[in-house]
């Protein structure tokens, strides 16, 4: 068997694969967010009638998952590989399997299964049906047909693939710790790149982040989102929803949001995201309907 792909080679291979399938290859969004789905290229582009095919890496921040670099599988910062195809193509499963083959998974020796997993994001007011894709019992991808986003029906439905890149790499490279992954082919490991980051950022998330500043930031993001909505710049409004969502996650990690308050905060973020989606649709509908006269919200 050929040498397994390094972490970066695996990303490059996925880029090549999806570029060949007609995807726009984007770079990561320059904001802190909890999942690739928050990227406007997914959230906002999942709405409306226009075809949209994109692939990109998105760094994800999950403050509560930090383990100070001591857990071999858990990170507060990791990468997702996102593919969004709208409308969902009829052979999406095969396209996806082709990408696994491209990064070196041999289907004659591995057990690939599609296990029911309905996806829902309370903070985005979004849901879809699909699966977690298992490779030998490990979840390597979330595969979803979006049905609603920001509370609006997806017309048409987009297919979304979210690969957990570190997990896949650990699998392909047969490593027990994420920090031992070969980042490139010249001896640089994932640990060389990210271990110190995990230690410091775990400490920051759990112990250092100033909660008054975070609460204040949350309030300001809410206000700024409303300001943007009032002035009809829905993309800018949505950025503030992303910001508020991340600040909420940090506040959770600091343990200062009670169980009772939690739902209220999620509700606030959802209102921002929904408001942004609604404004985005309102803003875009004239041009959408000019090109797709049949289309309605």
């Amino acid at each position: 068997m050929a040498e397994p792909l390094s972490f970066q080679r695996m990303i490059l291979t996925l880029h090549d694969y999806w570029a060949d399938k007609g995807c726009v290859i984007l770079q990561p969004y320059d904001m802190r967010m909890g999942a690739g789905t928050f990227h406007p290229a997914t959230t906002l582009r999942a709405l409306g009638p226009e075809p949209w095919n994109a692939a990109f890496v998105q760094p994800c921040r999950r403050p509560t998952d930090g383990r100070y670099g001591e857990n071999p599988n858990r990170l507060q910062h990791y990468y997702q590989y996102q593919v969004i195809l709208k409308p969902s193509p009829p052979d999406l499963q095969n396209l996806y399997l082709g990408s696994l083959a491209a990064i070196g998974i041999d289907f004659t020796k591995h057990d690939i299964r599609f296990v029911e997993d309905d996806w829902e994001s309370p903070t985005l007011g979004a849901w879809g049906l699909g699966w977690e894709v298992w490779c030998d019992g490990m979840e390597v991808t979330q595969f979803t047909y979006f049905q609603q986003m920001g509370g609006f029906d997806c017309k048409p439905v987009a297919g979304e693939l979210t690969y957990g890149l570190e997990r896949l790499a650990m699998y392909i490279q047969n490593k027990d710790s994420v920090y031992d992954l070969a980042f490139n082919d010249q001896g640089v490991t994932y640990g060389d790149v990210f271990l110190e980051n995990e230690k410091q950022m775990s400490k920051y998330n759990f112990e250092v982040a100033d909660t008054d500043t975070l609460f204040d930031g949350f309030r300001k993001a809410v206000a700024e989102c409303e300001n943007c909505l009032a002035n009809n710049v829905p993309i800018a409004a949505y950025e503030q929803a992303i910001e508020a969502s991340h600040l909420f996650n940090l506040l959770q990690a600091r343990g200062v949001i009670s169980v009772a308050e939690r739902q209220a905060y999620i509700g606030r973020v959802r209102d921002l995201a929904k408001g942004s989606c609604e404004a985005w649709i309102a803003h875009m509908t004239p041009s959408w309907q000019a090109k797709y006269p049949e289309w309605t919200v």
Partner: protein, 677 residues
Amino acid sequence: MSVQDFLLELRSEEIPARMQEKARADLAALFEARLQALNLPFESIESYATPRRLALIVRGVAEMTAAASEERKGPRADAPAQAIEGFLRSTGLSREQLVERDDGKGNKVLFAVIDRPGIVAGSVLASAITGAITAFPWPKSMRWGAASSSTESQRWVRPLQGIIALLGDKLVPVEIAGVKSASVTVGHRFHHPGGITIGSANDYIEKLRACHVIVDGAERRNIIALGAKMAAQKAGLTLIEDDGLLYENAGLTEWPMPLLGRFDEAFLDVPPEVIQLTARVNQKYFVCRDSAGKLANAFVCVANIDAADGGEKIVEGNQKVLAARLSDARFFYETDLKTRLEDLTPKLEKIVFHEKLGTVADKVDRVAKLARWLAEEGIVKADPDQAERAARLAKADLVTGMVGEFPELQGLMGGYYAAAQGEPAAVAEAIRDHYKPVGQGDDVPTAPVTVAVALADKLDSITSFFGVDLKPSGSKDPFALRRSALGVIALILDNGLRFPLTKSASKDVLDFFADRLKVQQKEAGVRHDLIDAVFALGGEDDLVRLLARVKALQSFVTSEDGRNLLAGYKRAANILKKETWAPGEVADNEIYEAEPAEAALREALDVAEPKAEAAVEAEDYEAAMAALASLRAPIDKFFDDVTVVDPDAFKREMRLGLLARIRDAVNNVADFSKIEG
């Protein structure tokens, strides 16, 4: 007419495992109903489900539906043109096609003779396919692809990819959601990804088998059950069987291959329930026991492929995943152990139990006081300090990492942590088991401290929710109070607790318990009218006593003496009702010659009344019934020989008085008017 078999396969992307069995049954039921409605005869229907297909075979389908002819009477031939036109419109015929007949009174009347020729099976089946797909009751369905630009597009559980519809060897043409029926399907996703042409219903199952697809779910379950058992045996272990896992794995595979893997023995320090749950819930693995009956460091996963290397890589991969899961579990377990349960209890102040009933900490406080009271009153023979201690710690595990990850481990983890932190065994056991019994058939705790906490926890929930008027109604019981009440009843009865419920319960709570008791006793074969008969006496809030009474009553009223006494009682009660008799209307100084049967009954009552009363007092209900039974012969004789409603007012009053004594003596034991029969 010759008959043929019909094959339908609806192929889609992976159908959730939990939905397959019902979908299979639904498909068969929908087809059966439609074919019957359309009058197409057939012999039988069978249906199958795999992750990627629903299939249906209808055996012995007739060539066509039966032809039918219908006659409709119209207006008279000389009716106004408007009326005739209306009739033509409603029948779809022209004037020339109508028949004129004489109505016997010299009038010509128009008749429409409508022939409905038989419809060929193919077109009936085509409409049945469309109908079934459109009406299919998936628990959750979705839109997909370009067609989903409209929300009206065809929905299915996951994207529909292919339809096979063959009647005999002929294609039944249909098109749904852009998918045209054909005779081609696909085999196993990796073993045989290419197309397979199916000839007819008769080669479908075997052709797919040759392409690594076992169509029949029952067969896949057998393969898994047997294969998993053998794999465990080969390793000198015993498989812990699990029906749920069997169905789930059969729903995830078209070609199931059970494989045994191992995990590091060091993980066995983690409680076995945690390991089993992690393996089952997260990974859908079976686990095994060693020869000593203890959980072994092995699992059985079910792959969906006959791997080229015999499954070596698959086992390796699965072992790694389970190891990561178990180290997570161990991390939670070890972290949890570092904090004493009592130090966690302040966190319960932040968890709302119910907005009207305060926090979990508030509940814990109520339960602790009640548990102590139950012990102090001697209702439960437990040490009051231990009962209170256990109650105060019982909910602390709700804020541990492990229960956060696996809520179903509540109680159990608290028990482990309490034991590890040096709590007395009785306290740890009470923490572990205080949610029991959960539903019928669950173990009912008998250890006194556990009983005190389990009872207090449930009683608190019931009385608290009733206190803020959140009672179960109809099918709604969001706080599972019915289950709690059944739990209370089981705890009281199984442990023979003498516990007057009125001490802690209001009237509506008591009625609620009475209802639950009837439900619970019905399963044990106790008649609900007898429970009513005892409840109707009022003041009976001791379940043990109440049930002893009901049981004595049941054996009595089913005996011959009992049946006769009941008949006599009802006769007496009816006469009293009819005569609207009330006591105290008769001067008692008058004397008259009582008839022998009358005197005998009076004597019998003089003996039986105090006996029955004393027996009830002593809670010896058998004896009370025996005392009543002694009245049977005198009552029968009395009714045979004596006229109650005598013309002599005095005699009548005296005799009615006797009947009243019968009624009251009997009612002192149970309200016989509630007894049926």
